[in-house]
């Protein structure tokens, strides 16, 4: 991010950026940066917080009218509103089931409702139906793996994007069914309480010693650090990529 700002500025485009990791901005010294203390993935604040998002953007843009300096790094003074975990939150009953396929069925009304209400879904990187995604992921490390449903993608890419679509389906449905859960709580529900999360964790585990090198690289991008053991993360670091 800082590198793009540097190159654009050298070419005469004025830049200002939001920084999520302050030490990185301190070292890279982009022309203008506003550090925000928000969750990774939320550079201007949380969903539906239009006023707050505007305030963050105004603050970042204001740096463009600052007195010239070698580089500017300012701190945004507020935390993201409503980002704390909701005390006592639990996912609504019925969202989880005994199998991945049963969970997908249980989540379907919530997923469809979310899509209808918002006019939008982030499921679709693979371009496959969610049932096709699930059947592929369930079979891929089995005795009779299904053929790669996206033959134009390398198998490891299909695996990666299928996991993204599966997670997005679960999380969009759970968000629709839940009230005010934090991003962490929703993710924790997926990784700790669903068969879908367990399936991805198993695919992650299977990646470390896989006979195909590209699949071993998948260890890097299947399970977030927060939901993997230290031992697992350290094994990931040993997989070159």
């Amino acid at each position: 991010m800082s590198a793009i700002a540097h190159f654009l500025e050298e070419e005469g485009i004025a830049t200002t950026l939001v920084a999520l990791i302050r030490p990185h901005a301190e070292k890279a010294r982009p022309p203008r940066a506003l550090w925000v203390p928000f969750q990774l993935g939320r550079p201007v604040g949380g969903p539906g917080q239009a006023d707050f998002q505007r305030t963050v953007i105004r603050s970042a843009l204001a740096l463009l009218e600052s007195t010239p300096a070698p580089s500017i790094l300012e701190d945004f003074p507020e935390d993201e509103p409503d980002s704390a975990c909701v005390v006592g939150w639990a996912a609504p009953g019925g969202l989880s089931a005994d199998t991945v396929l049963a969970e997908i069925e249980a989540l379907a009304p919530w997923y469809e409702r979310s899509k209808q209400r918002s006019g939008r879904t982030t499921v679709g990187i693979t371009g496959l139906e969610i049932s096709t995604v699930a059947h592929y992921l369930l079979s891929v490390d089995g005795e009779r793996p299904l053929p790669n449903p996206r033959a134009d993608f390398a198998p490891v890419q299909t695996l990666r994007y299928a996991v993204d679509d599966l997670k997005a389906y679960y999380l969009e449905a759970a968000t629709e069914a839940s009230e005010r859960a934090s991003g962490w709580q929703l993710a924790n529900w997926f990784w700790e309480s669903t068969q879908g999360g367990q399936l991805v964790k198993q695919l992650h585990e299977n990646s470390f010693d896989h006979r195909v090198e590209e699949r071993r690289h998948a260890a890097w991008w299947l399970v977030p650090d927060g939901w993997a053991s230290r031992e697992t993360v350290e094994r990931t670091w040993k997989v070159s990529h």
Binding site: P23, K27, Q39, G41, V44, T175, P224, D225
Partner: protein, 153 residues
Amino acid sequence: MVRLADLPATKREGMERYKTPCFGTQPWVNGISLKQATVTLISTAGLIMRGDRPVTPHDPRYRTIAHSGAANDILMSHVSVNFDRTGFQQDLNVVLPRERLQELADAGEIGAVADEHYAFMGATQAHLLEKSSRKLAALLHKKGIDTALLLPV
């Protein structure tokens, strides 16, 4: 909550090991007036249009996203799993605040919003981005876009 101390220990250690680029120069464009500026958004979330091929790690090319394009057609193909996506899933503005920028333009706080925004894959190395960043700068000049707000994930 993303002070480094708040991250899982293993994630924090990964962030601390990250090789931050260092540059020998400090470029600075002078004389920007927000009320006159035409502003574009640049995201490193690996955003793509629905149906496009996902961006792979270390692909330095940028993708173009129309300011007026349907939100449902904008997907995220960033390879990292170590950031929140539930915000993006609920509100595209969390990652690509097109509506917020338009509101600032409508209120006269900025001159105009560019007709296009741009997305890179953040999972890459800084030096790989030089050529495509300079290419993007040339395009921005050609389109009369003088200012960029860059947003990571």
